[in-house]
Symmetry: C2
Subunit: 259 residues, 2 copies
């Protein structure tokens, strides 16, 4: 994954960078405690997600337990999934501001959105397994699995509400970007299901579908991080294009693996 | 449904009331063009919803067509559903500001949220019909119906983005209220499904479930309208309690009808 490293901060309006974490020496780039490794980014995102899914009333713990299970964040084993989208978000934000931490709620929101679609995809495709574990619907049944996906979608909105230190206008702008991406994802999924019974699907139509279903959240991850970090429209637009290209490359790679 | 009619505006920060629509004579209450009747409120909410669900690219019209069908907003026949929640929202807002129109996007968001849960409920309960029509899943199949519900959830977020004339902080506060309500609805649905296989469900537990599953959106409708209309915490809290009581009364009535 390309890394963008800047020697100075660019118009960031996120939380102030703590001393010693990149804020003091404009000529060098010190990674924050989050940014020491990709693994540290992933761990920080997972911690943010856990904070949203734990602490419920005992009667509701099995509800959140389904979500933690799907994410591989239950006690049994390590995380499921590559966390590509949230790490794209925190890396871009870190590159622009010097500290990934301000964007963790944004990254968590995007990862929860992605995973709610996976819980529902598994039902729609009747897939019995994901990441070598039984899928949520095959353990708890279709009704609870549909509702667990809905719950994860709803919780992703609470993640957005945890963005602190930004002007309200900017949080709303980020929410709008994610909301529009989410509509695109559902539109793409509609086309994908519809294509299954059609024989006139051109390459162009397939790519338009994949750009919605897969590309939209990659764009939101990169563009959303840029939007939170800077007012510079050129930087925002460049990173949106980067997210789009990255999403298409990911989709092509995934499709080749799936053949 | 109780109506609250004020002779003067109370700390509203919504759009200015146009001349002749309640803004000029503090001793009398002139209803806006929306407020002439309950039917006018419903028509205005439906128009707001239609604006969100029409105008898509032709390839996506069948996607939005499923949502319009579920809402009874397709060409074939009149609206399905009583629109109780959105009208509670616009009536409260009208009572506090003299003009319902500023709250129409909020009302549309709440109605879309409610209806996305109905599309999914119908799958979970395997109900073949609603409002004397085949349910979405029984016409288009489970995969498209799950995704149509997800799409309606996503579109409800775009509705919130259409709130104009309010400070960004207030729109975010409204979004948070709705987001939290939505999490409660999913928690309530989890409990409801779980209760089906349990024999130890007390009246108290049933009421706690219903307060989440049904009550939360009624509270959001009344409290959300108050939040948009006024800074007065006492008014907001009173209307939140009213929404809660109204939701419980509605649920009890509905349960008696369903016995």
């Amino acid at each position: 994954m390309p890394r963008r490293v800047h020697g100075s901060h660019r118009g960031g309006c996120g939380p102030l960078v703590p001393p010693g974490l990149g804020g003091e020496a404009p000529d060098r780039y010190d990674r924050s405690s989050v940014g020491r490794s990709l693994e540290a980014h992933i761990a920080a995102v997972d911690e943010e997600i856990r904070a949203l899914l734990t602490g419920a009333d005992p009667s509701l713990q099995p509800f959140y337990g389904m979500m933690l299970y799907h994410l591989g964040l239950d006690a049994e084993r390590g995380p499921s999934g590559k966390r590509l989208r949230p790490v794209l978000c925190t890396l871009v934000y870190e590159a622009l501001t010097g500290d990934a931490r301000g964007a963790l709620p944004a990254a968590a929101a995007i990862e929860l959105l992605h995973n709610f679609t996976l819980i529902h995809d598994d039902i729609e495709d009747q897939d019995p397994a994901r990441h070598h574990r039984p899928t949520v619907w095959s353990v708890w049944g279709v009704p609870q699995a549909i509702n667990a996906g809905d719950g994860m979608f709803a919780v992703s909105r609470l993640a957005v509400q945890r963005l602190h230190g930004f002007p309200a206008e900017r949080v709303l702008e980020f929410a709008k970007l994610v909301d529009e991406a989410c509509v695109r994802v559902c539109e793409g999924q509609f086309l994908d299901i519809a294509f299954e019974t059609r024989t006139d699907v051109t390459t162009e139509r397939y790519r338009a579908m994949a750009a919605k279903k897969t590309g939209a959240l990659f764009v939101a991850a990169a563009q959303g991080a840029a939007l939170l970090a800077t007012d510079d429209i050129a930087v925002r637009e460049t990173l949106a294009r980067f997210g789009d290209a990255f999403g298409q490359a990911f989709q092509a790679h995934d499709d080749v693996l799936g053949i």
